[in-house]
């Protein structure tokens, strides 16, 4: 539920409750006040009747006013009673409430029972009018609330929703800091300013982090270059014995692995830093054929049967280096894990490329470890960098392509949908 409606419902609820309570209270209070005032007026009449009764016949009072009843009584005890009663009025053919006062009085030795009644009908009408007014005010309040809600929606909530929308679409790896506008509403302004500060701070940290990876990789190139050159010189020294050569071989392999790792990290950092923005049309089948040609001798050496299937001639618009890297990675990755005499299959479909290879063990790869940095399958002890598929994933992500793994009939398949 929207906050604005939430607030409105609370407002309306409280308003209704207050009015529901206030209406009967108002009714009873007003009624009491009215009855009190009528009682007072009757009291005046009583005093007047009592004063005049000494030198006038009771008939003088009752003949002009049917609301007054005076009759002699034997009862001399002083007695006074106020009450309200519905009396049938023949003239209007309805029951009408009356306020009644009955009392005894003694004048010139004669006791009278006097009853004065006063119609409450006008007063009841007034009360009803007040109630109607209250309901009218209630409806007016409802309308006013709706109106205020609408206005608030425009004034506060629309800018608020804009902020919310900007925040939900915010990706630190893609956007710079959020530049939310200033607002005349303090809370919203504070929110926007805080978010601006937060995102610009995070963007700065993220940028520094990204740059760090790239800078670190660059800085590592020099020591690696020096180490490599010294190893190359060591190979040239005379009278190396077998033991030394074995050590040298292992060092060279490790150095090679380090260089590859660093190169892959640098490539990832460059992808992350969007340094491959140059897009052009690339012919996928042609590129794939070219890459396969480069490995022809490895295929024949390991007796790997290569099956290519081209169902369509597809082209993609992307960075050439990255696309070539992607396809090369898929193929060399498949090649790396194809057993001797196995099959490597490349299928080029209209909007996809599928690269498959015979599985060494007839079971799917651990999916949780695929496409993750430095995660290698448990059974594999290859000297790969553990970054190959991660690079593929990042390239696909950059181009909005889908990459997935399938295991079909004893073959591992990597599928990229362009």
């Amino acid at each position: 539920m929207k906050l604005t409606n939430h607030i409105a419902i609370h407002y309306i609820g409280v308003t209704i409750a207050v009015l529901l309570m206030a209406t009967p209270i108002t009714y009873f209070v007003l009624r009491a006040v009215m009855i009190n005032s009528i009682d007072e007026s009757i009291e005046f009449q009583r005093e007047w009747i009592e004063k005049k009764l000494g030198n006038a016949s009771p008939i003088t009072f009752t003949s002009f006013d049917e609301n007054i009843t005076i009759r002699p009584t034997e009862d001399t005890t002083l007695y006074e009673r106020h009450y309200t009663e519905d009396i049938y009025v023949a003239q209007d053919k309805e029951m009408v409430p009356y306020r009644i006062m009955e009392f005894n009085t003694t004048t010139n030795g004669t006791s009278y029972f006097i009853r004065i009644q006063r119609s409450l009908v006008e007063n009841e009408d007034l009360l009803q009018a007040i109630l109607v007014m209250q309901i009218f005010i209630l409806i007016l309040l409802f309308l006013a609330l709706l109106f205020i809600n609408r206005r608030l929606n425009k004034k506060i909530w629309i800018p608020f929703y804009k902020t919310l929308n900007a925040l939900s679409l915010f990706r630190i790896d893609r956007d710079g800091p959020l530049n939310l506008p200033k607002s005349s509403i303090t809370e919203l302004n504070n929110l926007n300013q805080s978010l601006n500060t937060l995102t610009s701070h995070n963007a700065r940290i993220f940028k520094a982090q990204k740059e760090f990876t790239e800078n670190a990789s660059h800085e590592l190139q020099m020591p690696l270059a020096i180490m490599q050159s010294k190893l190359d010189l060591l190979w040239q020294t005379d009278s190396l014995n077998q033991e030394q050569v074995n050590l040298l071989e292992e060092m060279s392999e490790t150095s090679s692995r380090m260089r590859k790792l660093n190169k892959s990290l640098l490539l990832l950092a460059k992808i992350d830093n969007n340094q491959f923005a140059e897009k052009r049309e690339i012919n996928v089948p042609e590129t794939t054929r070219h890459i396969l040609t480069q490995h022809e001798e490895t295929f024949s050496e390991r007796n790997i049967h290569v099956v290519t299937l081209q169902k369509a001639s597809s082209t993609v618009i992307a960075d050439e280096i990255l696309t070539v890297t992607l396809i090369t990675n898929l193929i060399t990755n498949a090649l790396r894990y194809t057993p001797k005499d196995g099959t490597l299959e490349v299928q080029i479909l209209l909007n996809a490329i599928r690269v498959g290879n015979t599985a060494v063990e007839n079971q799917p790869l651990d999916r949780s470890k695929l496409f993750k940095r430095f995660q290698k399958q448990s059974h594999c002890n290859s000297s790969g960098t553990g970054l190959g598929l991660e690079i593929c994933r990042r390239i696909c992500e950059l181009n909005n392509w889908q990459i997935r793994y399938e295991f079909l009939e004893g073959k591992h398949w990597f599928v990229v949908e362009f």
């Binding site: 660059h218 190139q221 020099m222 690696l224 270059a225 020096i226 180490m227 490599q228 050159s229 010294k230 190359d232 010189l233 190979w235 040239q236 190396l240 077998q242 050569v245 074995n246 040298l248 071989e249 060279s252 392999e253 090679s256 692995r257 260089r259 590859k260 190169k263 892959s264 640098l266 490539l267 340094q275 480069q294 022809e296 001798e297 490895t298 050496e301 280096i321 090369t328 990675n329 060399t332 990755n333 790396r336 290859s382 000297s383 790969g384 960098t385 190959g388």
Partner: protein, 224 residues
């Protein structure tokens, strides 16, 4: 032949100079921009190895100055940046080759041979020694006048050996040379053994001498 190494990292320039000395090159080292400009102005070189990021200037400006003076030196850019833009700009400015650090000294040496050959023997694309004749344009090899039927990899391998005569080449250096740009995903060094074996077989079949010697089973040397 004289080579100028423009490189601010002394340890690396030392290694390069040491390696190239054995190839009978005379090496000069310039550690910064000004020294490099001074040496280029005063001497003639056959090839200049140029680092782009120097402490007191951009190596590309040295390249520009060279081209402005119509100097004929071959230039190989050696950069730690491995940025595509640098490579393109460098080659556009007239550099002959681009090699990203880190590299194998044997790879650098092979590139230097190519650059100098291209500059020196303009129009002559053949490389000759003993019974071998290599046509670098047609990418064909003749032994005693007989055409050797080599695959592309075998040709690359032979050329690499010839350009690094009498040097020990580790399997890794060879594998990385053959893989070219795909090095980072190429981790099967055993393939080198198979390639060398096939190459040796073909040379032997053509009646050529077996110059390729195995070094402790870990590397090879083309001994002439």
């Amino acid at each position: 032949m004289k080579i100028l190494i423009v490189e601010d990292e002394e340890k690396l320039s030392q290694s390069i100079a040491e390696y190239l000395k054995h190839e009978n090159y005379v090496c000069d080292v310039a550690e910064n921009f000004n020294e490099a400009m001074y040496k280029i102005g005063g001497f003639d070189y056959d090839c200049i190895l140029l680092d782009i990021s120097l402490p007191d200037g951009n190596g590309l400006n040295i390249l520009k100055a060279l081209k402005a003076d119509n100097k004929t030196e071959g230039v190989i850019i050696i950069s730690a940046k491995d940025a595509i833009d640098d490579k393109i700009i460098g080659l556009q400015l007239g550099a002959d080759d681009y090699l990203a650090k880190p590299f194998h000294l044997s790879e650098l040496s092979a590139r230097i041979v190519s650059v100098i050959r291209r500059r020196r023997f303009d129009g002559n694309n053949t490389l000759k020694f003993n019974e071998f004749l290599i046509d670098t344009l047609a990418k064909t090899v003749y032994v005693n006048g007989k055409l050797l039927d080599l695959t592309k990899t075998q040709y690359d391998l032979l050329l690499y050996f010839v350009m690094n005569k009498n040097r020990v080449l580790s399997k890794i250096a060879i594998a990385e040379h053959l893989a070219g740009d795909n090095t980072e995903f190429f981790d099967n060094f055993d393939i080198v053994y198979a390639h060398v074996k096939n190459l040796k077989k073909k040379i032997a079949q053509a009646g050529g001498t077996d110059y390729i010697k195995s070094i402790y089973g870990m590397g090879y040397k083309f001994e002439v």
